[in-house]
Amino acid sequence: MAVLLLAEVNNGELAMDATAKAVTAAKALGDVTVLAAGASAAAAGEAAAKIDGVSKVLVAEDPSLGHRLAESTAALIVSLADDYEHIVAPATTDAKNVMPRVAALLDVMVISDASGVVDANTFERPIYAGNAVQTVKSSDAKKVVTFRTSTFDAAGEGGSASVETVSAADNPGLSEWVEDKVAESDRPELTSAGVVVSGGRGVGSEEDFALIEKLADKLGAAVGASRAAVDSGYAPNDWQVGQTGKVVAPDLYIAVGISGAIQHLAGMKDSKIIVAINKDEEAPIFQVADFGLVADLFEAVPALTEKL
């Protein structure tokens, strides 16, 4: 049984971590073919060919596939779909944009954000902000699945899959890219970082978020935020952790000035060690914390940064 896996490609580069994690999930289903699509995707395809467990790579390069516009990317995937029983991707915002469109074009349900593979038809997925885990069995001929990357380990490198090129499908011409606003950062990427330090509304301002960033830099960590911190303009949207933000499961997660609403817990409660710093001892975040410190963050965070 064959699996087509849509690689995460950003501006021609392979997002190795997300793609390699999806490969781990996909390997359990069958022979994995990776599709690298983009305005330029050859380098991404070469990189994907080295992931352990990948048996073939398809490279599709066309201006219409740049910036992962949903209409043209879905058309491409559907044009290749005949040969595969599973069509999968890491559950990134790009894939969540494209894969339901693919599923509907194939008249099958999509299985979003799967956190476990039971068998080729059966998957586990969190629902209700992670307050329940559902096991679903698909009766569709083709399974379209996105995999929650935080629950799978990345496949290693060392493979040498063959690389072929395929052509783009006809561009439906329904949408065009205008611009990206991407913040450049030297910090590790939030969803693959081993340590994450997140700040919430308690941090109080964009300026004071520097406290969070300093602690993160001391630990070589990524920086995260609660929705309230993002909504208040203390932090950019791509830092949001939670039900509707990013899902992370680092070795160490430090939540500072975050109350611990279920929507936030949904994005971090599978972290290995959770530290909470909050001045309110009743804050629900302490219920999931391994180590809780009831303190004013403006004193505790600088002290912690200094002592580590």
């Binding site: 910036h67 999509v110 979003s112 559902q134 069995k137 039900q243 509707t244």
Partner: protein
Amino acid sequence: MKVLVPVKRVIDYNVKVRVKADGSGVDLANVKMSMNPFDEIAVEEAIRLKEAGKADEIVVVSIGVKQSQETLRTALAMGADRAILVVAAEDVHTDIEPLAVAKILAKVVEEEKPDIVLAGKQAIDNDMNATGQMLAALLGWSQGTFASELNIEGDNAVVTREVDGGLQTIKVSMPTIVTVDLRLNEPRYASLPNIMKAKKKPLDEKTAADYGVDTAPRLEIVKTEEPAARAAGIIVGSVDELVEKLKEAGAV
């Protein structure tokens, strides 16, 4: 311009979810239900388009149990003009899958001919994040998902999207489906006079069969479980103790 907004009745986001002991699902009997928070944002955006003179009619539609009527009344009280209830389930525990919802919505779109469909990015019960994209596929329309900004410019919609790397702006041709994210706007509350007025606004009742759509699920729910619980942690007395514990645990 006509706007269609699909709204879903879901468990209120403040309610603590309880998994049923027999593993058949989440207990929804006698719990507070509300409009999916993302759909409130979609309704709000539609009303703002109308207030800005860009839209002239807002139709809201909900698919599910009869009680979804309450959700539609809320949308009417916020400012929508007309509602369509599509009864497709009898038991509040029956969730209609996004594919079937999208198929019904596609039929509603054929009848109503909206210029734009504003849906939520995801329903906070099944967390699927799929219906808008599926509807766009079935109609062969463009899609602008996870919108934090929306501008109608002639025959196009310019959509700023919240994506993993930050923000992406795209231009999609109309008619189109836009799914809305949390930071698009802050929805208004319905005032009491508007709640009263909403009772008189038109609400059509249909069934899934009226649209000839088979709502049989493609995904069988094998079981629903509580997530693994975390072991209880400890409260440390000082920053020094925290550092010590983290070192002991090999975390730093």
